[in-house]
């Protein structure tokens, strides 16, 4: 549509130019003076022919006379003949045509007259231009003189002397108008007016078109520009990375500002914005004219550097950012960046693969301490890359599915709720479990996509049944991921029933970067009504310290403790102490890894109500739970 609009603009522009050329041609090329000259020239040609005819005729008729004046005056027939000859020239443009001679008193007198009622021979004729007439009479050349006697045209008089032996014996006087000129003007005027209208309309349309085009380009520029940093945004990235992009000449780099969330939290978002702007300005100064830079995410930037200069520019980038200092309220802020680079873009089939590989390198840079550049190495990351692709293709090709393991309320032997467990089928049909892929895709967009997918699958499974409760697993870091938190908020807003049906089990993979916002997000979801459980309590970071920070509704004691309850009394005491702590704080305790009757009996004996494990129920795609014990 926009392209067509431009074509129309070109067409209108061409019409404008053609109209202008035509108008200028009609206005100036067909000049009034030239037209007059042409008309006059035609008239004079007629007059001169007439002059020649008369001259020839008189030469023949008066060859025996010495004086041609006398020849005419003495013979009325000749005079009448001349009248007739002159009469023949009279038309709508030639008004008067008559022959005069000058007498001894220098008065002009008629010899012949072409009028229908001719003047009398010898009759005197006065003229306003006597001096000019006299000059014309005494010269051998014809003289053209004009007078403005007509208001709508020009009256011209042509004085054409008849000369013999260097003496003028009479003069042909022809009065004519160039009213024909008006006819031409009258014909041309409408054409000029039409052209002027066309020109005006097309110019107006052209100006509107140009205005629209400018507005379009401004809007396009805005749609391609990140408003905060002035860098290109993802829209522009999508435009740039088409099949014609010379990937073989470029390296891709993803740059992340280290601990940016802390800057935001400590100094506020306004300062965070200043940091983003400052860093963007540093980036802008460094990149070459053929390099590309995009704001890819919150504090993530994507670069497409020309291969031959990328390493040097990246080092320069690191150095400049490290050296840059921002002064806020007498405080200096310094920051660093982590960079992931892929120099082998040509080996990737799609741009998403290129970004993924650079993302892996960025992930490695962050994991290995940040503030560094890590290049994607195909050899080391081959397996990772393969796993990435496995998960991504499983998401794309709907090979992600869930199994549901019941958590049993042992007081009633009923299902308390189901825990949703993600599974992936690879292309061979083999089921892959989270331990084989989750760690690899963590901190990547694929992880986010997978999480959303699991939420969608669980909702479609449980929502319509409206009977069973279920839980989904999220990492504590996921509460620092606005995309995941927003997605959860979105689904509970869309399906309010979920507040009663769904709970979240928090797996604490690592210590979170930004615990304050993590706590806030957990509380936000709890305020919405969702129940949150702490999974794997007693292992890793999932300990009493975590419980102090968060207000969990459930805690799930880790299997590493439960498996020992049969033979290790300390494990039993540990569970008992957790139970008494939980009861004191109204927290429900769930024991997982209940794999045998012995474990079940021990836990039951110390008052554990909610249990999960292969002894009670195995994970299954359907919900036809059957108590196994």
């Amino acid at each position: 549509m926009v392209k067509n609009f431009h074509y129309w603009l070109y067409v209108i522009g061409i019409i404008s130019i053609l109209s202008m050329i035509l108008y200028l041609y009609v206005s100036f090329s067909i000049k009034e003076n030239e037209m007059k000259e042409n008309v006059i020239f035609n008239k004079l040609e007629t007059i001169l022919i007439q002059h020649e005819k008369i001259e020839n005729w008189l030469e023949e008729e008066c060859k025996e006379n010495q004086n041609i004046q006398e020849c005419i005056l003495m013979n009325s027939d000749k005079s009448k003949m001349l009248n007739t000859m002159l009469y023949m020239t009279i038309n709508q443009d030639i008004s008067y045509s008559f022959l005069v001679f000058k007498d001894e008193n220098n008065r002009y007198r008629f010899l012949a007259d072409g009028a229908s009622e001719p003047a009398r021979v010898m009759q005197k004729i006065d003229t306003d231009d006597k001096k000019v007439w006299d000059e014309a009479y005494s010269s051998e050349e014809g003289t053209l003189l004009s007078s403005n006697k007509q208001t709508d045209g020009l009256w011209l008089t042509y004085l054409s002397p008849f000369v013999e032996n260097n003496q003028t014996y009479m003069m042909l006087v022809t009065d004519f108008s160039i009213s024909l000129d008006n006819k031409i003007k009258n014909t041309i005027s409408p054409i000029k007016e039409i052209l002027l209208y066309i020109l005006s309309i097309t110019i107006v349309i052209f100006i509107i078109g140009i205005f629209q085009t400018i507005m379009y380009f401004i809007a396009r520029k805005e749609s391609f520009t990140d408003q905060l940093t002035g860098l290109n945004n993802r829209n522009y990235l999508r435009k740039v990375i088409d099949s014609r992009f010379p990937y073989d000449k470029y390296d891709i780099a993803i740059v992340d500002i280290d601990f940016f969330k802390k800057i935001n939290d400590q100094y506020g978002h306004d300062i965070g914005d200043i940091v983003l702007k400052d860093i963007s300005n540093i980036f802008k100064k460094i990149v070459g004219k053929d390099d590309f830079i995009f704001r890819y995410g919150g504090e993530e930037f994507l670069f497409l550097f020309q291969r031959n200069s990328s390493e040097k520019l990246l080092k320069e980038l690191m150095y400049r950012v490290r050296e840059h200092v921002i002064n806020i309220n007498n405080q200096t802020i310094k920051f660093t960046i982590s960079v992931g680079v892929n120099k082998n873009l040509h080996r990737c089939k799609h741009f998403t693969d290129m970004v993924k590989t650079a993302d892996i390198a960025l992930y490695n840079a962050k994991r290995s301490g940040r503030n560094k550049i890590v290049y994607y190495s195909e050899e080391i990351d081959d397996e990772k890359q393969s796993n990435f692709q496995t998960v991504q293709s499983a998401i794309d090709e709907n090979r992600v599915f869930c199994e549901y393991q019941a958590i049993i309320d042992t007081s009633s032997d009923c299902v308390f709720k189901y825990e949703t467990l993600v599974r992936i089928k690879d292309t061979n049909g083999t089921t892959l479990y989270p331990n084989s892929f989750l760690e690899i895709i963590k901190d990547t967009n694929i992880y986010t996509d997978l999480t959303k997918k699991v939420i969608d699958i669980s909702i479609s499974k449980f929502l319509d049944l409206n009977v069973h409760k279920f839980s989904i697993n999220l990492g504590l870091q996921d509460f620092n991921n606005p995309e995941i938190v927003n997605y959860v908020l979105k689904v509970i807003e869309k399906y309010p029933k979920l507040i009663d049906l769904m709970s979240i089990e928090v797996l604490e993979y690592d210590k979170v970067d930004d615990e304050i916002s993590c706590i806030a997000m957990v509380k936000l979801l709890q305020d919405k009504g969702l129940k949150i459980a702490l999974d794997d309590f007693g292992s890793g970071y999932a300990n009493f310290s975590t419980i102090l920070s968060y207000s969990f509704d459930f805690i799930k004691i880790d299997g590493s403790i439960i498996r020992k309850v049969v033979e290790d009394d300390k494990a039993v005491k540990m569970v008992q102490s957790i139970l008494s702590f939980a009861q004191a704080h109204n927290i429900i305790v769930i024991c997982e890894f209940v794999y045998s009757q012995e474990v079940y009996e021990v836990l039951k004996s110390i008052g554990v109500e909610y249990m999960q494990g292969y002894y009670l129920s195995k994970p299954s795609q359907d919900l036809e739970w059957k108590l196994l014990k």
Partner: protein
């Protein structure tokens, strides 16, 4: 008007004319237009209709051919080929004892053609 002044010695002219347009053109403060030629001291005539009562006063015609029709016409003012023409007939001026200023010499003709 100069032409009329030239042929008349009267301070106030009484003119008879059959040309209505002339009555609108000539200045009323110096001229009295009369309806009968016998009351006039100058006639200015156009067209070929003969004014029978205008035989005793000088006449200025507005057509050349009328000079022949009015023996007492002394001159003529008319448009010839889009140009104003003035003619006074010498013998008739003399007959009527009219003496013209020298400025009009160029318009005085011996003959009527």
């Amino acid at each position: 008007m100069r032409m009329i002044d030239a042929v008349s010695s009267h301070k106030i002219l009484s003119i008879y004319t059959n040309c209505q347009k002339l009555k609108e053109i000539l200045p009323a403060e110096k001229i009295i237009f009369v309806d009968d030629c016998s009351d006039a001291n100058l006639a200015i005539l156009e067209k070929s209709k003969i004014e029978k009562n205008c035989t005793d006063i000088p006449i200025i015609t507005l057509e050349y051919d009328l000079l022949k029709k009015y023996p007492n016409s002394i001159g003529s003012f008319f448009w010839q080929k889009g140009r104003p023409n003035i003619i006074f007939i010498k013998s008739r001026l003399e007959n009527q004892n009219i003496d013209l200023d020298n400025a009009f010499d160029e318009f005085i003709e011996e003959n009527i053609w």
